[in-house]
Amino acid sequence: DVKVTQSSRYLVKRTGEKVFLECVQDMDHENMFWYRQDPGLGLRLIYFSYDVKMKEKGDIPEGYSVSREKKERFSLILESASTNQTSMYLCASSLVPAWGEQYFGPGTRLTVT
């Protein structure tokens, strides 16, 4: 059974803190993605990675960075969290080609106070 897991379901952080969101997939997928989901805006792509140590900017990369040291793990980093980064964060993975069916994790609801 395909599985994408995320480190936390809920997270509360203070403004200015460094935040790490972890995502692990067990499907040996090459491609991994980070999205944020906000009401009325759908899902917006932050970063994606098509191979270990490779990353590409999505539509809204500002204020975020990513790390992919192992194929199964893709981390999203908020260097200095701000209140406008309060959102639902969803991780996904896909096989080759990158833009095929994506499998999503359960999401992390991040609140920055």
């Binding site: 009325g40 833009w99 999503f104």
Partner: protein
């Protein structure tokens, strides 16, 4: 700005009524995918269409990809309470390395 818009944003229907959501992209897409997100859940892939004018059916669900590959629709016949959720279209533009989700349509089915 937002590349892929969906209408309506919300739809309430009586069980048994039909439902349609429309998806419009500002750019040509190389394929269109549809996802369903149940309340409190995560998006789950439903289908992918690749060809211009393509129509696919899954039981009561009919998916269409426009001739210009810039719009799509999802039609549900005789809705059931299990159809409740938010439906998203999504796809990569023909050029560039991006992936855009639509704004979503939230469907409520009244028993």
């Amino acid at each position: 700005g937002q590349q892929v818009m969906q209408i309506p944003q919300y739809q309430h229907v009586q069980e048994g009524e039909d439902f349609t959501t429309y998806c419009n992209s500002s750019t040509t897409l190389s394929n269109i995918q549809w996802y369903k997100q149940r309340p409190g859940g995560h998006p789950v892939f439903l289908i992918q269409l690749v060809k211009s004018g393509e129509v696919k059916k899954q039981k009561r669900l009919t998916f269409q990809f426009g001739e210009a590959k810039k719009n799509s629709s999802l039609h549900i016949t005789a809705t059931q309470t299990t159809d409740v959720g938010t439906y998203f279209c999504a796809g990569p533009p023909n050029t560039g390395n991006q992936f855009y989700f639509g704004t979503g349509t939230s469907l409520t089915v009244i028993p």
